[in-house]
Symmetry: C2
């Protein structure tokens, strides 16, 4: 309907998560009418990031350096290793500000239905890390979904075989949450995981 | 928080309309984790469109050609000229499928507060068009907002001076709309613009 270059741009914008045909059209026209400079800058950033960003050699998180900032930081406690699914999870934990150890980022979760097996989430590399470094505690912080739990159990078995203490972050009623609005699954878990005071 | 290239990408994504810091981060990580190819294609499309797309010489819509598809189409009725605010408005009217004339796209609306004057919306070019072409009817289809109405009135005066018939598209209760849910302004307009049956 529009001219070829604009149609192509609208089509390309569909790769953004949550952007359908209408939003893609709105974004394309907004950029072309009001923000050419922003569009050009975005094009450059996308190109550089898509070409330059790969994985941290140690923890598999996304970075363009050989070692990410956290792995390269010698003031972090190397005896603690926290296993998360994505770089966004690392950010969330860092923003909470209480964890001082290092990370291992799976960049996914075990999901046989989607064809994601242990090799895809870097389990070999994690086993190697457990063998090479003096890690005392492996903290499993995968998401409390079916796949996340399965991944946690799989990794827990491997860590036990490597004689490393394995823990799982607590799941239950969030602080400030009201029982009235908490879903049944979370409440049931909170009861079954109750602790002595 | 992330490595420089990723932070730069997140920052650049903020130029997209409706994308805040959290969405920008989600989009950046999604593209880097799951769709590098899409990101590279998007970068190319953005670059090409930002550099190549300019305005149609006749109707001011966005296109990379000298004349847009509609202006170049000799089967369109040159006696009708519809004035709209944006290329998206052209698309909406084309999709309705009943209008066979040509367009003039303001790419904006008169808005003294935002510093948008007649020169910015191509009024000179419109006056020239009215003088050069044998246009019989100018149809004003700017949006029924304060600025859109002001723009319509301003252009109507110019067209009358050029001895061209001026019409405004009808505003009122949309087809399929239920009176119960229509806002008061629209209803008041629908009453004041009632027509004899």
């Amino acid at each position: 309907m529009f001219s070829p270059l604009i149609d192509e741009l609208i089509q390309s914008l569909r790769c953004l998560p949550g952007v359908g045909p209408k939003s893609a059209q709105r974004i394309a026209l907004h950029l072309l009418e009001h923000d050419r400079e922003g569009a050009a800058t975005l094009a450059q950033s996308l190109e550089r990031a898509a070409a330059g960003v790969s994985r941290c050699d140690r923890c598999r998180t996304l970075t363009e350096q050989a070692l990410c900032g956290i792995c390269a930081n010698h003031r972090r406690d190397g005896r603690l290793l926290c296993v998360v699914e994505t770089p966004a999870d690392v950010l969330a934990i860092e923003q909470a500000g209480s964890y001082q150890g290092k990370y291992f980022v799976l960049l996914g979760r075990l999901s046989p239905i989607d064809g994601v097996g242990p090799a895809d989430i870097g389990v070999d590399q994690l086993v190697q890390l457990l063998a090479d470094e003096s890690i005392e505690e492996l903290i499993l912080a995968t998401n409390p979904t079916v796949e996340g739990e399965a991944t946690a159990h799989y990794i827990a078995e491997l860590a036990k075989a490597a004689a490393v203490t394995v823990t799982r972050i607590a799941h239950g009623v969030p602080l400030g949450g009201e029982l009235e609005y908490i879903d049944g699954g979370t409440l049931a878990h909170a009861f079954s995981s109750r602790q002595a005071l």
